[in-house]
Amino acid sequence: MTHSKRYQHRTIISFFTVLIVFILMAGGVQAGIEPSKVICRVETDRAILPAGDSQNVVLKITLDAPPSPAHIKRPLVNLALVLDQSGSMSGTKIQQAKAAAIEAAIEALTRLGLQDIFSVVVYDTNVHTIVPAQRAGNIQSIINTIQQIRAGGSTALFGGVSQGASEIRKKLESDYVHRIILLSDGLANVGPRMPEDLGRLGAALIKENISVTTVGVGTDYNEDLMTRLAQKSDGNTYFVESGFDLPRIFAAELGDVLNVVAKKVKVTITLSDNVEAINIIGREGRIRENQIEFYMNQLYGDQEKYALVEVNIPKSTSGSRIKIAQVDVTYENPFSRKPEKSTGISYASFSSDSGKVARSTNIEVIREYQLNLNALAQEKAIELSDQGKKKE
């Protein structure tokens, strides 16, 4: 799967987009030194809508993160690695996976800078902090410690994540990019183990700006639990069949973490009068009266994140033009540590010329909309295949 093309930063705004981008420069004078801002685009699936009755329209709110500036020091990272060392699934394959995980972790470590904070927590039946939060400068002794990890016991996943969070908290007040990377290859059997419970833990952690990235290894872990934890804390999730894919995963994840260009990103969509929110597709958000809110913990350099919202637009006459919504994005610039703001506004024109309407189709919005519907269908398929299954 290579979605990369699809999300790549696009600087050209298509001619049919009825979109105006405001880039409000908070410290405009320093623009030369500071990195460029996050750009917010709001697009509809068709730039020109058919005039007539009220209709449903898909809104795509895109956040284009600027590339990470080369001449400014990147935000420091506060990383906690939480490793599963349970021996419930003892066997050479799992042992190999664990060894690979350790190797990959060590490789990843070498990419951290001297000022970054790093900690390692391992869990089996109990939870142990084997590397308490410390500067990653002292890398060799950290590596030596990690290499001594031995497998055994049950799987206290909840405790592991909790301990990882507690290591992160040692530097919580400082201006770091907080991240827990959780590796698991087995079912959690000590501590809360319902996907919902771990989701709630994730939801609580994101309030402290801690995201949890989950990496499932092999086919014995609980993917529902792992994805829910990542989803609720706005982390990434990965599935690898064997430990040999782990170096790639760690590299990718560190690529994200070391490349943060916006933090505590809050997206507020204010709908115009008579425009009604119908549904949020894909991403989790909340609809509050005429406002829709999304929250993202971090944006990574040169990447695109978006939200899809279905809204209902009132009756219209041909040739008219209305404002559908205004989108306000607030975030923290991790370089200047100042709050920033971007705004996007979406307008809709109406026409009774169906050819004109058809030509104004925005394929990107349609594509992402369809792919997100597909994601929901995949989830539905899982749910269906689970139905009637014996409870374990």
Binding site: T125, N126, S154, F158, V190, A204
Partner: protein, 558 residues
């Protein structure tokens, strides 16, 4: 026989108390093990109690602070503040504002709310619909604070005290009779542990103004738990575990390395707090006990085993020695009597013939000659016998000294056969001599070897007197000279073949009853040969008869 039985009885008397004592010791040991286990569980329970107290205090403090913060909220900005709380405070799962006799103000029922909020409303529907009062559990908590005051630790008391101070403006009367005036501050508050879908939820509420809204938060238990488990102390012991368990008995957190089966029952259970009802800390101990105390048991059992073995083997040894001594004593008695007999026979002959000669009634010179030779041969026999007894005595005491000289064995054998040929042939036994060609030089004690040969010859004459021949064979082995003295007598039964070399032993059958003897000859012969680095052993002749082989060290082999 009676003495044997008495020894066995004595031994049994000795053994039985030993077994009884060891049995008691073993029971005491296992009791000790049990006691140690109990003590360990007790200690673990104490730790669990400390932990649960800490949890209780923490949760209590959290709730106190949240209540205070809720009360401090500016009433005009209530909803906004609460929403900010919900967004930023990990401990806040949901917030609500409820106005009595009106709809729930926040969250609103219906599709305006998120799924989580809708579930929240459903969960507490009986409260939010007004069917149940928020302070329904007030009595309960009041009762608790009364009883708790007696048993609580000082720290808890302090917290409780601070709560009382905080709650001071709250008066029950006020609660029961809502004040007339709209702006009367009553500052009622409470925490409700709430079970829904078999899971614990905790709701905190406050009402600041008499007619004002009841508002509050739902505590995020997962965030609370996440913070609590981090402070759970680690247990270094391997075979024990403290497990934090929720109301359904699920393991929330474990301390200690023991692998606990979810079905296993805890050895002790400590309730955590009324603030987290049905949550417990279970104490688990490996059924096989702890590693350290196990070791104690093993060591004790080994010690006990060694003790028992020592006692039993000591008893066996003593008994055996006693039996041996008894046997020796019997043999000595029989030895004395047979030696006396042996001595008496030649003495009688010597005395009789000497008296005859003394009476001078015997005139026949031939007869006189015969009598004298009998006296000589009998006294020779007596000498040999006494020599044997003397040799035996010396050998027994290890005082026998040997004078080593170099001589030729074949020569010695020739001389001895010559000097004893008359005695042998008189018994009608033929002498056969086979000497292989070669050098038979030895360096050994000549007298001792003579005594050995004499003993073997006497033995053959004594026990094979019905035989036809006595055969002397001299041959050479690698470094030994082998002297075989064989006869064609009745031989020796297989079972006796090694015992004949024991001192005092005589093959106890018809043969020996006719033939008196000391039972020393063979024993002495073997002892002498062994002292001189040789040996003596028996081998049966083909057909019947016996053959004794003496191994004497060759001089040149040195």
């Amino acid at each position: 026989m009676t003495s044997k039985r008495s020894i066995i009885i004595f031994w049994a008397l000795f053994l039985v108390p030993t077994l009884i004592i060891s049995g008691i010791a073993f029971r005491l040991l296992s009791h000790e093990q049990e006691r140690i286990n109990r003590a360990a569980i007790q200690a673990l329970s104490e730790r669990a109690k400390t932990i649960s107290e800490t949890i209780h205090i923490t949760v209590e403090a959290v709730q106190e602070n949240l209540t205070q913060s809720l009360l401090d909220i500016d009433q005009d900005n209530l909803q906004k503040t609460l929403l900010v709380w919900e967004e930023t405070n990990p401990l806040v799962r949901n917030v609500f504002i409820y106005q009595k006799d009106r709809e729930l103000e926040y969250p609103v029922r219906g599709m305006e709310s998120t799924l989580e909020e809708r579930r929240f409303i459903t969960r507490y529907d009986s409260l939010f619909s007004g069917r149940m009062k928020f302070d329904f559990n007030e009595d309960l908590s009041k009762d608790e604070s009364k009883t708790k005051g007696v048993t609580e630790s000082s720290r808890q008391k302090l917290v409780a005290l601070s709560r009382v101070v905080q709650k001071a403006p709250v008066s029950d009367q006020q609660a029961l009779f809502p004040a007339e005036s709209e702006q009367s501050f009553i500052e009622k508050s409470g925490w409700i542990p709430w079970f829904s879908e078999n899971r614990l939820h905790i709701l905190g509420w406050v009402q600041k103004i008499g007619n004002g809204p009841v508002y509050g938060i739902e505590l995020e238990l997962m965030a609370l738990l996440s913070r609590l488990v981090v402070d759970f102390p680690e247990l270094p012991e391997k075979k024990v575990a403290l497990l934090l368990m929720d109301g359904n008995g699920y393991f929330m957190h474990q301390s200690g390395k023991m692998t606990v089966d979810p079905k296993e029952r805890p050895r002790a259970v400590i309730s955590i707090s009324n603030l987290l009802p049905h949550w417990q800390i279970g104490v688990f101990v490996d059924k096989k006990g702890f590693g350290s105390t196990r070791g104690f048991l093993y060591v004790s059992v080994i010690l006990l085993g060694v003790f028992i073995i020592a006692i039993v083997s000591g008893g066996v040894l003593l008994t055996r020695m006693t039996l041996q001594n008894m046997k020796d004593a019997r043999q000595k008695t029989s030895f004395v009597s047979s030696v006396s007999h042996e001595l008496k026979t030649p003495l009688t002959s010597i005395r009789m013939y000497a008296e005859l000669l003394l009476s001078k009634r015997i005139k026949d010179a031939n007869k006189i000659q015969t009598y004298l030779s009998v006296i000589v041969s009998e006294s020779e026999r007596l000498t040999r016998l006494i020599n044997n007894v003397l040799a035996f005595g010396k050998l027994e005491q290890g005082k026998k000294t040997y004078h080593l000289t170099i001589f030729e064995m074949d020569r010695l054998l020739d001389q001895m056969i010559q000097s004893h040929s008359i005695r042998i042939e008189n018994q009608g036994i033929e002498i056969i001599l086979q000497i292989e060609e070669g050098n038979y030089k030895v360096k050994t004690d000549r007298d001792a070897i003579e005594q050995v040969i004499l003993n073997l010859v006497d033995n053959a004459l004594k026990y094979a007197d019905k035989g036809k021949f006595i055969k002397f064979v001299l041959e050479k082995d690698k470094s030994f000279i082998l002297l075989k003295i064989c006869d064609d007598g009745p031989g020796i039964p297989k079972a006796q073949q090694e015992m004949i070399f024991e001192k005092f032993h005589r093959v106890d059958n018809s043969l020996t009853t006719k033939q008196p003897g000391s039972g020393l000859g063979l024993s002495i012969a073997r002892q002498i040969l062994r002292d001189l680095e040789g040996d003596l052993f028996f081998e049966p002749m083909p057909g019947s008869g016996s053959c004794f082989t003496a191994r004497i060290k060759h001089h040149e082999s040195d």
